[in-house]
Amino acid sequence: MPTVSMTVNGKPVSGEVEARTLLVQFLRDQLRLTGTHVGCDTSQCGACVVHVDGESAKSCTMLALQVDGAAITTIEGLANGETLHPMQEAFRNNHGLQCGFCTPGMVMSAIDLVKKNPKASETEIREWLEGNICRCTGYHNIVKSIQEAAGNMGG
């Protein structure tokens, strides 16, 4: 089996994978980083969003071998020790989650948005999240969370 190497949350990792192994399967099953979720099998829900070389991407729509050599950040890599990332903190403060299933993908997607567009309007936030589906919150508090975090992230 081919070997894949990448940096995950700042640590170099490598492992043997089958070519058909998706990045999300490598993260969850081999690295045991189960914070990244799988909510669908059609690349629609966004629960699996991680950062690949700083850009948000659906880890269910990439092969592990495709990201050989890349730097990956997952939800586990955001907090600094006990201190949550401002986006995580904002989701907590604003009840941006209920069951929490969509949250890792929402947070990773939202961080990429704020990086690209620190002054995103409510409409721009809602449009950006078109590929992140939440069954619980009705999105309202998610949008509020992202607006608050954008302010705290120096936007």
């Binding site: 089958e18 998706l22 991407a57 729509t61 449009e127 590929g131």
Partner: protein, 289 residues
């Protein structure tokens, strides 16, 4: 289930050699937004997957000295929207391309993948056709260039031979007085498959008369239709009500849609005419600016 082999060659020649030498089902991987979904669903079971994104030619978008563009087959729609040149010259082409999927899908979905997946509802294809785009194909016998409309043959099938893949596309320079547009209708506001799509490219002279035009319809036939009668209906006119009515009728006559949960035959046929009217108006506004 056989095991898959994965290769990511750095040159066109290496990719062709891999493709031509493979025995089982072999698939090109661009953005993977169709391919990996099909792989997960076990709709396909390839022996070899060839990622073409390490080949520079597939990943660049260049504006040439004569105003034309060379677009890498694996260049993503979200990347195109960040470019001032192509978004200004060919907004319709970029619209069709960037309508594909949601944020993270847009960051990966390519024109080559959208075309070669060969869905009749592929959003980028009607605008590519009316813009006069051609595909540069590499294969064991060297390179050849064919019009985009000759690539899809029927749903899921292309005219590419064994060992061939699309390296890039040619997009002509925007003509003086030219404008283009793509519109689709979907039951939701985002992330759905087109019930009808319509691409229009036209050229206006200084008096506002249409001197040339192309109209295409997606999702109303097994492949994208080029509706010559619709173009004829508006050429030589200033897009008065009578010309638009004829355009509408020509599109309705050409549409041969299917019935499904997204829309009935009657509905899709009517919408083909409505979208054509709207797309022509947008293209004409752009031509004037």
């Amino acid at each position: 289930m056989q095991s898959v082999q994965f290769e990511a060659p750095g040159t066109v020649d290496e990719a062709v050699a891999l493709l031509a030498g493979a025995t089982g089902d072999t698939r090109i991987l661009a953005g993977g937004t169709d391919l990996l979904v099909q792989l997960r669903a076990h709709m396909i079971n390839p022996g070899l997957i060839i990622d073409i994104k390490k080949i520079d030619e597939t990943r660049s978008l260049t504006k040439n000295a004569d105003g034309s563009y060379t677009i890498g087959a694996a260049y993503a729609g979200a990347e195109a929207t960040e470019r001032d040149d192509i978004t200004k010259d060919w907004p319709g082409v970029v619209e069709g391309w960037d309508l594909i999927g949601s944020t993270q899908i847009q960051g990966r979905a390519s024109l080559g993948g959208n075309l070669c997946n060969a869905s009749p509802a592929a959003d980028s294809v009607p605008a590519m056709i009316v813009a006069g785009m051609t595909a540069n194909i590499a294969g064991p016998k060297g390179r050849r260039t064919i019009p985009v409309q000759d690539v899809p043959v029927s749903p899921g099938k292309t005219s590419l031979g064994k060992g061939e893949f699309i390296v890039s596309f040619n997009l002509p320079g925007r003509p003086k007085g030219g404008g283009d547009a793509y519109l689709r209708l979907i039951p939701r506001t985002e992330m759905d498959i087109a019930v009808v799509g319509c691409g229009v490219a036209l050229v206006l002279d200084d008096s506002g008369t249409v001197t040339s035009a192309k109209v295409s319809l997606g999702a109303v036939s097994a492949k994208v239709l080029v509706v010559d009668a619709a173009a004829k209906a508006i050429i030589g006119t200033k897009l008065d009500d009578d010309a638009l009515a004829k355009l509408d009728a020509a599109c309705q006559a050409a549409a041969k849609p299917i019935n499904d949960k997204r829309g009935t035959i009657e509905y899709r046929t009517k919408i083909a005419g409505v979208l054509a009217r709207r797309a022509v108006k947008i293209a004409a506004e752009r031509a004037g600016s």
